[in-house]
């Protein structure tokens, strides 16, 4: 049973050329205790997918044009703002790339986390403070009792992200949505934060959607992987499968373009660039950059099942594999 079930999600932005889709017909499933990584480059639609689920897109310039996001029996795509506010930060925790976007610079970290507990869990102030201290200990903020009344600017980037994580798990959410949570951090700190997120997931049984551009991080944290390109999922599979047997030429291209420190390989760049949102895409969006391109690629390929839990959106790759 899925915790979150996204189906046919399409999100559009207003551009000077009219409404254009940034996310097209996206299907996702996340279960409890499970980590789904959404991976893609800038402009792939991975962050817009997250913001659509959370309904955090600017109303004037963006709209959900279709699809549903079923979560705990309700369709998030059609809830009003008041109902969403009761879900965000309570049933769905959020961690973004830049911790300062989630923190109020004029409030102590203790009061910010406390406020979440008072508002969503209805705790009395004194109890909220004790719980805040416990949460700060849990995310391994050093000397929490001494630092609970400090302001966000008094912490390093890694410590701020720990504070944000403490706030995100304060209400024991069923789902944690993490959008590039370690991208702004140094690698040694990134490793600590990834480990912390995994531990918290194990303890709370949360489902997690982890959005990243970094395939190394995906390999480290994911159970299942969805690769996005130009607003669509082009391949999805369990983590071991997608690294052992990548099928979509874009997934393969990404792996061959990433320099690794543990072995020497010839880098194979992907020629060209990601299409702009203004471009009208006919057929497969990756075709102009694709080494496997055939005549049929002017038709848009479906996301085809090619094995247990493995699906690929490519005429050529889907045909080569015995289904």
């Amino acid at each position: 049973m899925s915790l979150l079930s996204v189906s046919g999600l399409t999100t559009e932005f207003r551009t000077d050329a009219g409404w254009r889709a940034a996310v097209r017909d996206v299907d996702l499933e996340v279960g409890a205790n499970e980590t789904l990584a959404i991976v893609g480059e800038s402009g792939s639609g991975k962050s817009v997918t997250a913001l659509s689920i959370l309904r955090l897109l600017p109303e004037a310039g963006a709209r959900i044009a279709g699809g549903s996001c079923l979560f705990e029996g309700r369709d998030l795509a059609h809830l009003d703002e008041t109902a969403m506010q009761a879900i965000r930060g309570a049933r769905i925790g959020m961690v973004f790339q830049e911790p300062m976007t989630a923190l109020n610079p004029t409030m102590t970290i203790g009061n910010q986390i406390g406020e979440v507990l008072v508002r969503h869990r209805g705790m009395p102030r004194a109890e909220a403070r004790a719980e805040t201290l416990r949460l700060l200990e849990r995310v391994r903020l050093p000397s929490p009792a001494r630092r609970i009344d400090d302001y966000p600017h008094q912490f390093s980037g890694g410590m701020r992200q720990r504070v944000v994580i403490a706030m995100a798990i304060a209400c024991r959410p069923a789902l944690l949505l993490a959008d590039e949570p370690t991208t702004a951090l140094d690698v040694t700190i990134q490793a600590q934060i990834l480990r912390l997120l995994k531990e918290l997931q194990r303890e709370n049984g949360m489902g997690m959607i982890f959005i990243t551009h970094n395939l190394g991080v995906v390999a480290q944290i994911a159970d299942r992987v969805a690769v996005m390109y130009a607003g669509r999922i082009v391949e999805s599979a369990p983590v071991d499968e997608i690294f052992a047997r990548p099928l979509h030429p874009y997934t393969r291209g990404l792996l061959q373009a990433m320099p690794r420190h543990d072995r020497m390989q010839d880098l194979e760049p992907i020629p060209g660039a990601v299409p702009s949102i203004r471009e009208t895409i006919v057929g497969c969006a990756f075709a102009p950059r694709c080494p496997l391109r055939i005549a049929r690629c002017v038709e848009a390929p479906p996301l085809d099942a090619v094995g247990e839990n493995h699906a690929v959106r490519c005429w050529v790759a889907a045909e080569k594999v015995p289904a």
Binding site: E41, S42, R140, S156, G158, M159, D186, V187, T188, I189, Q190, A191, Q192, L194, R195, H213, N214, L215, G216, V217, V218, A219, Q220, A222, V239, D240, F243, G253, L254, L255, Q256, A257, M258, P259, R260, H261, D262, M264, L267, E268, P269, I270, P271, A273, V274
Partner: protein, 321 residues
């Protein structure tokens, strides 16, 4: 004096605060007694996390930041002692490529103006000849000559970085300092630019000082690597060997923390490894000792000297003292 770039005892302290309203004075030893050498046509990677001093060290080499101490030689030029006129001469031999192709190109100048300016400033040529050279350089970096009249905002990040590289090469330097040249780019474009840099390096026989926080990029581009931590080089040597068998515990931590795209190589860092301490108040002795799993009493008191426990390898750690 050998060919290539030789840096020894390079130091730079930044002072902030102090004065009437500045609050307490803070001194940050951004670069602390750093020495390295890059052979003619060699490539040295400087790797480390934010604040380790790698970019400051690179900028000191070009005197874009004035070092406090240290000797810097390139071929027959004494860079550290060079006067204004000599510095102009040095800039024809050594050029820099910056990280951010968005802020390093003047948005009000056409690509033609950006590329021909160095030729004009250095009195190499102007007019049609300069245009011709700019056009040639554009095709060498994989852009069309037709873009000469365009402005930076019309290009993607990868294309802008190609323009930044073209500008650096207009004076036909023999050495390039590249400060995180691919860090702002998506992985597919990053590989394009890395390949371009490697082609140019081989074709033009360029020497490189290559700054990056990404161990994969360093391994791919550089023959030699120096690892920096809190202003000091903790280890240096040939990149293949050093990544296969790191000596310094910090290099080991850095390698273990850098994820690779292979679920079978998942690592579970067994203990909390702490954060980089403040550079304005670094720990005494070895600056890494508060995070080091092998820390001994001596590490808290005495700064380790650099030793060479194996051929071509240098490390600053009491384990090898």
């Amino acid at each position: 004096m050998s060919d290539g770039l030789t840096v020894s005892g390079l130091s730079k302290t930044f002072v902030s605060g102090g004065g009437l309203l500045g609050g307490p004075e803070q001194r940050v030893r951004a670069v602390d007694d750093v020495s390295f050498a890059v052979e003619e046509q060699g490539s040295l990677g400087l790797v480390g996390e934010s604040g380790c001093g790698k970019s400051t060290a690179a900028r000191c080499v070009l005197r874009l930041i004035e070092p406090d101490a240290g000797a810097i030689h390139y071929a027959d030029i004494d860079i550290a002692k060079a006067g204004r006129h000599e510095l102009v001469r040095i800039r024809r031999r050594i050029q820099i490529v910056f990280q951010d192709p968005y802020s390093s190109l003047n948005p009000r100048r056409t690509i033609r103006q950006t590329l021909t300016e160095p030729l004009r400033v250095h009195g190499v040529c102007a007019g049609r000849e300069a245009d011709e050279r700019a056009g040639q350089m554009l095709s060498e970096v994989g852009l069309s000559r037709d873009v000469l009249n365009r402005y930076p905002h019309e290009f993607s990040g990868g294309q802008r970085q190609r323009v930044g590289i073209a500008r650096a090469l207009m004076l036909e330097p023999s050495f390039v300092v590249a400060d995180e040249p691919v860090s702002a780019l998506d992985v597919s474009v990053q590989a394009q630019v890395l390949r371009l840099l490697a082609d140019l390096r081989d074709r033009r026989r360029l020497g490189f000082l290559f700054i990056s926080h990404d161990l994969g990029v360093i391994r791919h581009f550089c023959k030699q690597v120096a690892v920096m931590y809190l202003g000091r080089i903790v280890e240096q040597g040939p990149v293949e060997e050093l990544f296969r068998e790191p000596l310094h515990p910090y290099t080991r931590l850095l390698l273990d923390s850098s994820p690779v795209p292979d679920p079978a190589a998942r690592r579970d860092l067994s203990e909390e490894t702490g954060e980089v301490p403040s550079a304005s108040n670094p720990p005494p002795g070895c600056a890494f000792h508060p995070r080091c799993p092998h820390a001994m009493p001596v590490c808290r008191e005495i700064r380790p000297a650099t030793t060479s426990p194996a051929p071509n390898r240098l490390v600053a750690c009491h384990l090898y003292g």
